[in-house]
Symmetry: C2
Subunit: 337 residues, 2 copies
Amino acid sequence: MPFLRGRQMKKRAVVLLVGLVGLCALLLIASHSNRTAATEALSRQDDPFAEIARLKRHLVLMKAKGCVEEDDDLPVIFAITPTYARPEQKAELTRLSQTLLLVPSLHWVVVEDADKPTKLVTNLLESSGLSYTHLHAHTPPAQKLKAKDPHWTKPRGVLQRNTALEWLRSDGPLQVAPLDPEGIPKGVVYFADDDNSYSVRLFEEMRNVRGVGVWPVGLVGGLMVERPIAAADGHGVASFNAGYKPERPFPIDMAGFGINLGLLRDHPHAKFLYEVEPGYQESQLLKQLTSREKLEVLAQNCTKVYVWHTRTDKPKMREELQWKDQGRPPSNLGIEV
Amino acid sequence: MPFLRGRQMKKRAVVLLVGLVGLCALLLIASHSNRTAATEALSRQDDPFAEIARLKRHLVLMKAKGCVEEDDDLPVIFAITPTYARPEQKAELTRLSQTLLLVPSLHWVVVEDADKPTKLVTNLLESSGLSYTHLHAHTPPAQKLKAKDPHWTKPRGVLQRNTALEWLRSDGPLQVAPLDPEGIPKGVVYFADDDNSYSVRLFEEMRNVRGVGVWPVGLVGGLMVERPIAAADGHGVASFNAGYKPERPFPIDMAGFGINLGLLRDHPHAKFLYEVEPGYQESQLLKQLTSREKLEVLAQNCTKVYVWHTRTDKPKMREELQWKDQGRPPSNLGIEV
């Protein structure tokens, strides 16, 4: 069951935007014949770039308060986040939601591994200030990682990401994204796990991807950075600097690519599978959509790192377990952590 | 060597704002008699002053929409972050800087454990859009944690936090924060480590602390949440729900309290020490400044969690080491990760 927001807000935003553009044009026209006054009012400063940074920061703060005039024609970034209940879930989703708040025209698709939406995630989304869709899909018991299993023995998020792909091919995105002349929603799809670290610059890199865009990912596959190497002839990727299974068709992490929404809708059967070797999820999806020669090499020819594959330690709950043994109530009784 | 920014900018901002409001009025009046003027002024320029004008105009227009500007009289939050070089440093500082960007009137004091400022941190701060002070203090070798030592055997950040405390008692904050009638800078001091997770709500909780404010911290001390329990008579804290060493004078994590800057300046010798038992750093500082009865109980009587003591896994560098053994160049050659 998707929960949607945004359409009404968008309409209001369009009305405001038209009004504001009009006012802005008036002011600019007027300022053209008032150059002297304008120049005088702009007292020169020692460090204009510091002033620019300060002003941008103000704009970011205002945006966080819901004051932004977004460009309604920007392609929308659909950030897909599979998530599951665990002690550190709220911390990680909070952190990620605050990063996403800094990105214009972003729609967050959160897919819970649960048989119904949880209160924790529902509350978090409602108070996030983000445009979002809340989905859920319960991983079948046979596919669940057991407590003692190493994390790489079972693929995680397969069903949840496929549920998001289904939504992306439905009418859902039509409600959220601007349409191109053929009526296709303009957007790009990114798999943003809740434990990675993202620079806001990453999202602007991917916004105008026409097919599949790729970029480096830090701290992954046993390396400081895994990255595609651009082809000398300017057509796509020649090879990949990857340490872990470099023989994969696309030796690349889930965080290292973005897919044009139209391309995804043109390939209605492309999806993730449980039955692939560990580490082959990304290759399995990408080979259905593109080839190495067609990849768009972003982040300054793949020389900049804007996303890191960080992992959060499982918090140790020694004292919590001792309290339980002593018959004391849990430390979080009645408190959402 | 501190690098300062802020106070002068604030004064300039007030002057500019007054000027701009006046200019805006002028332009509006002028626009009535200049409707037919050319529109070529609409073309954007590379001139930073044109960019400043554009951003200012944007802010003025947003203000006209009822969006609130930053209040120059708000107490400033001084967030103290000790940091040291490691593979995940940039990821964590990037993530934290983006959270802080959402907090109005915040000044970030970053203290590197290094004998001089590093390029990585310098670049990160310069492009962060935040108001900041960049300090450094090198931990003496005798106090360094060895690679195989458990993390709790040596206190970390002692010297770096003391360096920040020195700066907070210097003229530095006078340049950054508004002054009260006695000429004391209005602000609150918070120790914000670079690996924790923060809700932006936390910072508004602490902003008006008059002495020392306290609140719950999630995922710490072996519990889901550690928290102070308010006294029934409304005076401070009666006890602490803590699992780890509950006998400490203040069984509370570094992330669980904020200190009024005036109080800190009234106690010029209060600081952290190397020579205290593990887990007693917080108590050692707080007992010099306050008592349990005087603590201000925040976050809805300590029932809400707005900060989590998350820890990031040390990334495994297996393939990186193999490459080294094979004589291959490092994966991050020439690339900042």
